[in-house]
Symmetry: C3
Subunit: 434 residues, 3 copies
């Protein structure tokens, strides 16, 4: 047995979408649940979380547990993603823990007809690993009482305390011990608002700190224990650009999933880790990226942060506010640092196929070259970059393809969207490579 491999059906989770379980003052307190369970395609998350904790008022949570049962029993069979309700829990409150246990016992009762469509539960506010074991023990009791297979209900946790962050470093040692069933663990989800409170952090404007170390440690724990790392909510819903930037930053840390608060965020987050339809060149200057536009095979830069002119003895290049005089060789080297190519899904499939062919022909490593003619202020320059691919490079760059394949296999409701996005042909090649 190795915990290096994911233990659950889904190898990847892009989206973790929460919905209040009972809203006061509506005709039907389950209205939002009923709306959410009807989502399909790119609007439907990989994991849907009926949220009987923070999103639901404390006095509505018993009613919320009932709504979860009713709505999932009725329509859960057709929901295209996994379903993991969140119940209440707190490392410092035995009363809250007992309430969460009671809700799990009720929701998971087969007589209520919902549990066959439920994949697990989400436990918030966990503390050290002994606290995680208390939750795990309740799962075991629930499974035993209801005649469910031991370990069949997945457990996911919200990391929102320093003690939980430290606990993640111990999972690999604790999972598999005879007295627990921690192999049921599935997702490690950061919860930055409560984490900020627990760490007692202050920012002048009240915005959340970026917490890069927390996100690294979550991703590392997921890697070491065969779990899935998910980032917390991005609460400025109008800031689509900011949400995208956060996802790009997360992906570079190996945290490929993120919380979504609206179907609009779900669409963004379902698409974000997938490679683009068309490859493109970009210029990166002073930490900002600008996409180049293609005109007749030439990549044209028409922004303001770069300027170039030919002089009597070479070139005058300005990058941001930094001007230099360069010869042709120097110019090309400098531009290598400015321009980069973002490969499309099709490009990645091509490169992988090329490496596979080379490997069969007995070569351990090949150079992959990417070249373009770039035009800046009317001056054209050839730019090219080489990268050596060996087995390790091949495997490291395979992640977006593996993710694509996992999505395709588990989300038939997104096949049409994927075909629209990439074309049938590219989809088929992507499913057969690797």
């Amino acid at each position: 047995m190795t915990v290096d491999e994911q233990l659950h059906d889904r190898q990847f989770v892009r989206t973790f979408f929460t919905t209040p379980t009972a809203v006061e003052g509506e005709d039907d307190s389950a209205k939002m649940l009923k709306s959410a369970i009807g989502l399909r395609g790119m609007q439907a998350p990989d994991v849907w979380v009926p949220d009987n904790e923070d999103a639901t008022a404390p006095n509505m949570r018993d009613e919320g547990a009932g709504n979860i049962i009713d709505v999932i029993a009725e329509d859960g069979a057709d929901f295209p993603g996994e379903i993991h309700p969140r119940v209440v829990w707190h490392r410092d409150s035995p009363g809250t823990r007992y309430q969460g246990f009671q809700h799990m016992l009720e929701i998971a009762d087969p007589d209520n007809g919902a549990v066959e469509h439920i994949d697990g539960f989400v436990i918030p506010e966990v503390g050290d690993v002994d606290d995680w074991k208390k939750a795990d023990e309740f799962f075991t009791i629930v499974e035993n009482e209801h005649g469910l297979e031991e370990g069949s209900l997945a457990m996911s946790v919200i990391i929102e305390s320093g003690s939980a962050e430290l606990a993640m470093g111990k999972l690999r040692d604790e999972m598999g011990k005879p007295s627990n069933n921690l192999q049921r663990l599935f997702m490690l989800v950061d919860g930055e608002v409560d984490y900020t409170k627990d760490m007692r952090a202050i920012t002048p404007t009240g915005e959340l700190p970026p917490w890069p170390e927390l996100r690294h440690n979550t991703s590392r724990a997921a890697s070491a224990a065969g779990l899935i790392a998910v980032d917390g909510p991005f609460d400025d819903i109008r800031d689509v650009e900011g949400y995208r930037e956060r996802m790009t930053d997360n992906q570079a840390k190996g945290q490929l999933g993120i919380w979504s608060l609206t179907p609009g965020q779900v669409v963004e987050a379902n698409k974000s880790p997938l490679p683009p339809r068309d490859g493109y060149w970009l210029a990166e200057i002073d930490g900002r990226e600008e996409e180049l536009t293609e005109e007749d095979g030439v990549q044209v830069y028409d922004g303001d942060r770069l300027s170039l002119e030919e002089t009597a003895d070479g070139y005058r290049l300005r990058v941001g506010s930094d001007e230099q005089t360069l010869d042709e060789e120097g110019l090309k080297e400098e531009l290598l640092d400015v321009f980069a190519y973002v490969p499309s899904l099709s490009d990645i499939v091509d490169s992988m196929a090329e490496f596979e062919a080379a490997k069969e022909a007995g070569k351990g490593a090949i150079a992959m070259t990417r070249a373009a003619t770039v035009r800046i202020d009317g001056v054209e320059v050839e730019v090219s970059s080489d990268r050596m691919w060996d087995e390790a490079t091949y495997q490291a760059l395979q992640t977006p393809i593996t993710l694509f394949q996992d999505v395709y296999e588990n989300r038939p409701d997104q096949h049409e969207d994927l075909a629209d996005l990439y074309g049938e042909d590219v989809v088929e090649r992507a499913m057969n490579v690797g």
Copy 2:
């Protein structure tokens, strides 16, 4: 028992001020101690550290121990902060450890009259957790020999080695074991100069590396074990702006305290985590912040990094060296990323009271809106941002208020300064919210 909560009187320590215990060549070697113990108000630190280690020459340390006793026995009763002398210690030197023990034994002798005003000792150069236990055992012996209550002397440590950084991850597991009294732990203080030596780091100019991971791990350990995180000395005493920036960076990591080398630094560090008297708007461009000035209710930007003009079909906006043509919607979105509001103490109290009222009225979440008219190059634009507040947001943003209340309760000598700073009315409301 939970270690999630602070175990000591002070829930927050803003300032950790060290003073040499014996200076050679002065008429009175205790002169600096006598001066420091007389500090009051904003010049007096939350924690005063008579420093019988690095700040005092090795051949003066026995005399220094005597000076600590004399000065504290005489004037300790009136000192407004806590008193934690630092003694010598080294993970690799039994001789140094024994000397530190002897000094503690002497200083804590009730017959010498100082210990009743002493809250604990600071132990530098600790190594792995077994080394921390050696120090803890000496505290226990000192307490036992002198008939002091077991655990009554707080122990704080300086983190200045990789092994001590790792030890912080184990505190929660080790505290509370029958064979130690590690619950006496109080402050985790980073010591970046020696840490840099221990990590063997090199920078071209010799300046200290920023060590963001160390500071994160210190703050996290404090959070997990109910302790207080304090950053190390900032040794360019003339660079007030740099000291402030370091504190802002620390606060975003949850490290709310910092070492102070002079009474001037103490004043800065006592004020830094407190919200400002007046809220203000700022522009953040290329990582630099500029405060806007208010004129007749309009927020005026008069710096050089932003320019705006109306064009026939919209707006031309320059942010740093980046120019864009935008319609009104696009302009507002772009400016949302540029401008942010820094709330005053009074603003925070208002927002908390507003949320408390909404909660009583049965609402779990409310939108807090902040709007302003901003003028750039004579062009006026409406800027507004929403933030959803729920229970978690409320608690996360409460930290500066909790800190304010802790300061107010524990530092009567600063009441006048606080009233001068904020007005009696705001102080009173801040003490009654939350």
Copy 3:
């Protein structure tokens, strides 16, 4: 016994240079090994790694093991650095582990004549600490079978998984236990390509994430367990500037060694942690550094990112795109943040000698001042900075000297290069200080 001190001959490793052990299609498959073992001086690495893993095709590895033996038996006695072949290993594959064991057994057989010149082996793809122990046990069996002293073969590992990253935090606890010989550990080497795969990270352009936390944790583990931290390969061989920047970044983390893929990279990496021959001033603006040029004792700034003019009532200073009007005091403060001095080897030796003299004269701390006249746009300004040196500062700034001394003692083949670089006189003084 303390693991705070390095347990091996070399206290520092600047360069870790890998060479394929068997290349198909050449007249002599050992050609590259034969070429590499002939390297001397700055082109020869501190550690040479005949690479029987990723650099060598799987079907050539048995032949590669034979080549290692032949080439090292023949010429290993004269190689100026240490020799640590890399064998195959994988935490998830018992077959690969057994193959690695067989190759070690063969290569270390004294009858084959190579082991007397071999310092240890490098084990890639390790997992948790129990996996490290499996490798250590094979070393012990190899030593026992061949009558070598237990622990005499050093073990170095490549950190290329989240579980290995976590394992590094446990070394101090595990080394020295009766059932292992983990004291044989020598280098902790990051392997970012496979680590990126294991963490499942994605970047749009396919470039490697920077992984700052991994490098910090590697350096910290080295510090805590008396080992040596080495960064992974930098695969854009043409980008010399990028390689240098990576090394500067690593050095600020205490990771003083780096992988080299070519003799050209070895030269760069052997020189990088050594102080420069001549000190110089630099301007740091918007994260970019520019060296000032000296003209008749004046430091001249002639770049475009800074401009200065005298006005009727003071100065107008532009730093990047940020303009300010300042009085003389304000100007000097602002420029203090812009300019910094990079000391030469000779400067560092002078400062250390000055502090040593002060210490002998009974002073615990002295101020070191660095001053210059700087000319910007024809306007001259005096710039000076003070730094307090105490024992801790002295020791922290001693690292480049200790490294220099370690290099000088262990690498006689570089004496000539060092003398050419610094002059005999400076070299001699550097060997006698500290």
